[in-house]
């Protein structure tokens, strides 16, 4: 049995907005094991992004507990959670969040600001990753000079630079055409094949075919779970 990377025990999340209190995720039990590729689907507001945020130490549960890499998330302070994100987790979002005034190469290296200095090793790895995502010749380009698909690939390279054990992707192929989406998903498939654990949140049910396991969330609960 592979070790658990994330364990949710009665973990739930409510948040407050001017409209009132919203239960984004009902208390649930769920385990993510090392080496899995999990695709989480569901409608908007079903709680899939909240599940991703809890697995990525971007949020703490308001009920129950979440253990990441064996550590209880609730017991970690902000600095410790930040270290966890910087060193063991990688994120890809639908919006790339690339800084327009930095080159592709610098955008990929952004995470190095939050990790202990690695010197040229990080630069070499950034070059390799950009090469791997097909942008080895665009190091000096600025995000505005890239297509949407290319920007997404830069964001993936950025997420991988810290050599994470778990890659969390939230709608990484949203707004992309079919061909570009296939390319991005093929890349995720390759990364998973190399041993990276992936959790991918999407509206697109077709993407479940890339997974080793899928979940469907509804109203903050796991409505369905299966394997392709």
């Amino acid at each position: 049995m592979p070790p658990a990377l994330a364990e949710l025990r009665g973990a739930g999340k409510t948040y407050h907005s001017p409209a009132g209190t919203v239960a984004a995720l009902q208390p649930l039990d769920w385990t993510l094991s090392d080496g899995e590729f999990v695709v989480v689907t569901g409608r908007s507001g079903s709680g899939k992004s909240t599940l991703l945020a809890l697995c990525g130490a971007l949020a703490t549960p308001t009920a129950g507990s979440v253990r990441l890499f064996g550590e209880a998330l609730e017991a970690l302070n902000d600095a410790a959670r930040s270290v966890l994100r910087a060193t063991r987790l990688g994120f890809v979002f639908q919006f790339t969040g690339l800084l327009p005034t930095l080159t592709v190469f610098d955008n990929v290296r952004l995470g190095t600001l939050f990790r202990p200095p690695e010197g040229v090793a990080a630069d070499l790895r950034a070059r390799e990753l950009l090469q791997r995502v097909g942008l080895g010749d665009r190091l000096g380009a600025y995000p505005a000079e890239l297509s949407g698909g290319e920007q997404r690939r830069v964001a993936i390279a950025r997420a991988l630079l810290g050599q994470p054990a778990l890659l969390l992707a939230d709608e990484p192929t949203g707004d992309l055409d079919n061909e570009t989406e296939a390319g991005i998903m093929a890349l995720f498939g390759e990364l998973h094949a190399e041993g990276l654990t992936v959790v991918l949140v999407t509206h697109n049910l077709d993407l479940r075919r890339y997974a080793t396991r899928w979940l469907r969330l509804q109203d903050g609960r796991i409505a369905e779970e299966g394997q392709p």
Binding site: Y15, S49, T50, A53, G56, L58, A59, D78, A79, S82, V83, R85, A86, T87, F91, F93, Q94, F95, G97, L99, P100, T101, L102, F105, D106, R109, L110, G111, T112, L113, F114, R115, D123, L139, R158, G162, D170, E171
Partner: protein, 400 residues
């Protein structure tokens, strides 16, 4: 490729909103530069008054009644003038209780466009036997003046060692006095013997003869005895001697800056008030910047930035904008005071002396430091708000 550092990220953030960054920078520059310029001018004026008063060496100046404006003009801006009072008054003044020293001076205005003079100068004849204004400076430099030697103010363009005729009588320049910023800087000082000789021979040597009688002097500088207030001696002069009035030395030197100094002080206060307005302006601007960058903050937090790091970054941006803005404004202020301070003061008819590099450095450090502190203070709440943003909420707000 250059390494990516927090400094480069900071520069990149500032570059993203060029207009806003530039507008903030210029606002800070104008306020800081304005305060710097006015403070430097005020300080230069005060320093000049202090130097001028020290150079004059007198606690009070006795002048012919009704000649206050002319005397102030002579002492403040070196405006050549001719005043006369009987020389017999000198002994009477010296005999008044509370007077420690009294020394007469004779004012002479040279001719314009005359062969007998090298240009238009304000000549002051002093009595080496009783003088306490130029004498200390001469003693300090080990100089003994002959009757036809001269010492000149800092802004007099005659070379040391040059022999120049005044009303046809040659005088040799023996030295330049240190700058004071007041009229003494444009004055030529001659021993009274030499000046009397010049007056006596002017009918033969000059285009126009000088009409100053041997028994006339222009003003009498008075030093009071230790512990005696200058005002007491002034009262004694006006009570006992007819046709004379008294100006206290700091008053006469500072007369020109009294009104202007008040205006400048008011402007400095306005500047400080503007500084107060800067605080909420910067605070609001940085709050807007944080609101705009929620998505970036979410990404940075996802990549591993701690709340403290976000707080420091926002604060650093404010500090850099305010620090650079202040330095820019102060650089312009330094150029203006160094290059045009004296001309500006001359145009305003006020004494002024350049404040010197130690003051410039202290002023720059003080104002730039205050600007940085103001920036940090203004950005404190927005930075704290940025640090407290829930990364998950930030990313959700971005439409994920």
């Amino acid at each position: 490729m250059k390494p990516l550092t927090p400094r480069r990220l900071l520069a990149s953030n500032l570059a993203r909103r060029r207009f806003r960054t530039t507008a903030l920078l210029l606002t800070v520059a104008v306020v800081a530069g304005g305060i710097g310029l006015l403070t430097a001018l005020l300080r230069g004026m005060q320093q000049s008054v202090a130097l001028g008063t020290a150079r004059l060496g007198a606690d009070l100046v006795v002048i012919p009644r009704g000649s206050r404006a002319a005397a102030e003009g002579a002492l403040i801006v070196g405006e050549a003038t001719q005043l006369t009072m009987p020389a017999s008054q000198v002994a009477r003044i010296a005999a008044l209780p509370g007077v420690a020293q009294a020394s007469a001076q004779v004012y002479v205005k040279t001719l314009t466009d005359a062969r007998c003079c090298p240009g238009e100068f304000f000549l002051i004849g002093f009595d080496p036997a009783t003088d306490f204004s130029i004498a200390p400076w001469l003693r300090q430099r080990g100089l003994r003046l002959g009757s036809h030697d001269a010492v000149v103010g800092d802004r007099v363009t005659l070379r040391d060692g040059a022999t120049v005729p005044f009303f046809g009588t040659p005088f040799t320049v023996r030295g330049h006095l240190d700058p004071t910023g007041v009229g003494l800087d444009t004055t030529v000082f001659l021993p009274l013997d030499g000046l009397r000789d010049m007056v006596a021979h002017s009918p033969q040597r000059a285009e126009e003869p000088l009409e100053i009688a041997v028994d006339e002097v222009s003003v009498v500088l008075v030093k009071t005895a230790p512990g005696v207030p200058a005002s007491h001696v002034a009262e004694a002069v006006t009570a006992n001697l007819d046709g004379l009035e008294v100006v206290l030395a700091p008053q006469v030197i500072g007369a020109a800056m009294r009104d202007l100094g008040g205006v400048l002080r008011l402007l400095v206060l306005v500047g400080v008030a503007l500084w107060g307005v800067l605080l909420p302006l910067l605070g609001t601007t940085f709050s807007m910047a944080v609101a705009e960058r929620r998505r970036d903050i979410g990404v940075w937090r996802a990549l591993g930035a701690s709340a403290g790091w976000v707080f420091r970054l926002v604060l650093a941006e404010a500090a850099v904008i305010c620090g650079l803005g202040a330095l820019l404004g102060l650089a312009v202020a330094a150029v203006l005071t160094t290059g045009f301070g004296a001309a500006l003061a001359a145009a305003l008819g006020t004494p002024y002396v350049w404040i010197g590099w130690p003051w410039v450095i202290a002023l720059t450090g003080g104002i730039a430091g205050s600007a940085v502190a103001t920036g940090c203070l203004a950005a404190w709440l927005p930075a704290r708000a940025a640090a407290r943003l829930d990364p998950y909420e930030c990313i959700r707000a971005a439409g994920v």
